[in-house]
Amino acid sequence: MAPRPLEITDLLWSFDAGGQPVAVAKAAVVGRLTALGQRRAARIVSAFPAPDGILDPGYVAALGLRVHCELQRLGEELQFARRVAALLSPIVGTIRLHGPGPVRIVDVGCGLGFVLRAMAASSALGAGVELVGVDLNPFLIAEASRLAEQEGLACRFEQGDAFGPELAVQDGARCVIISSGFVHHLPEPGLPEFFAAQARLRVAAFAHWDIAPCLWSTFGAWVYHYARMREPVSRHDGVLSARRAYSAARLQMAAQTGAPGYGIQVMEGSHWHPRALDVLRPVVGTLL
């Protein structure tokens, strides 16, 4: 099987066990992309400033923020936070029936935390819901926290690994773990463990939205990322993410393997016509 192509943003940041950024050599990034035949991606990275061969951390951090701000724009246009809230609302309602206390929504790989901040701004899930975002990238977490504070939104963000969500989960029975546009960043062998990490915490449910791969979604991603995005990295990674996304069958199998105690459903429709409204579809797991 041919190796999966890489997104540029997957290679620009590296963090040590303590969550601190590690220097990334430009030649190494360009080399990996070239080896995979991704010449355009290699050209994009070649233009990045790299004093002494190390990618300029300030430049890369600022680039990451710009890329995520652009991504947020697409999410807004898609009404994505509302779609997430619409799916979560009955799940949260069911958890509330089991007893008093807050319900927690944990967004892993949250980036700038757009989904959580938008849900906090609209109070879409009602009172008594805690919104916690987790991301490995400390720059994104700092910016998400700053934005939430600036707009007075009731949500918080912590630096952490999507494979270790326990840092944000106190009571699994009253917690739902979500992500959006994140799962395709994981290597395929790691998928079952991603779901297993959530199953071990006995969370009430999980719901992970990602692109449904098909010809339509790749074409749509191309049109949209060239119409709406400015950064070459956003355009490259946006289109590639549609190509790299996992099929419903793979997600179903990975979720069933990693979280056997959960009822799993990939909420995906037909591929034979463009599915403009469910560009991102969730794999949903509910504790049986």
């Binding site: 600022a62 923020l65 710009r66 995520h68 701000c69 652009e70 991504l71 947020q72 724009r73 697409l74 246009e77 898609l78 009404q79 509302r82 779609r83 619409a86 700038l112 757009f114 901040r117 938008a118 701004a121 910016e143 934005l147 600036q150 707009e151 939104l153 749509g220 049109v223 949209y224 060239y226 119409a227 709406r228 995005m229 400015r230 463009p274 403009a276 409204l277 560009v279």
Partner: protein, 168 residues
């Protein structure tokens, strides 16, 4: 150029400027509530389009005062441009109306089917209208002004982005 054609073209250019300014501002701050800055961006885009088109309009006025016989050339070029820009504007305004009117679950349809793809095609359509205007103008001065107006319109979004919204 009849006043109606001139006024319609100018109105479309300013409307396009407003939307270009709006697009230039989007996806910059990460804030959830950005309605105020959206309106500000639209105002900036309109103003910038006006500023960029002022030399073209001034030159056309001076040219017409000096050579009133060129009025027919301007009219032909303007009408040719309007034949391209008019339907495009109508399509986009209809899609915007649908986007506003549809409920939140469906409004992305207007974006996915019309607003997104046709924003991608906007430079091509702008150049096509200018080329038709240019082809209709038998006078070099009219042709140059048609070309400059296209350049002015296409410059609004990148210039607004660079002047007001660049983030390093």
């Amino acid at each position: 150029m009849t006043p109606a054609v001139a006024v319609t073209l100018l109105a479309l250019a300013l409307l396009d400027g407003a939307l270009a300014g709006f697009r230039a501002s989007l996806g910059r701050t990460g804030l959830i509530n950005h309605r105020k800055s959206d309106y500000q961006a639209a105002r900036r885009g309109t103003g910038l389009a006006g500023v960029l088109l002022t030399p073209v309009i001034t030159a056309a006025c001076i040219g017409l005062l000096a050579h009133p016989a060129l009025l027919g050339q301007y009219a032909r070029a303007g009408k040719a441009m309007l034949e391209v820009y008019g339907p495009y504007a109508l399509l986009m305004l209809t899609a915007l109306a649908f986007y506003t009117a549809l409920n939140w679950r469906l409004k992305y349809l207007a974006s996915a089917l019309i607003l997104g793809p046709f924003t991608l095609l906007r430079p091509v359509i702008t150049i096509l209208g200018g080329a038709l205007g240019l082809a209709q103008a038998n006078d070099p001065a009219v042709a140059v002004l048609a070309g400059l107006s296209v350049i002015a319109v296409l410059m609004v979004e990148p210039l607004a982005g660079r002047v007001w919204y660049a983030r390093n």
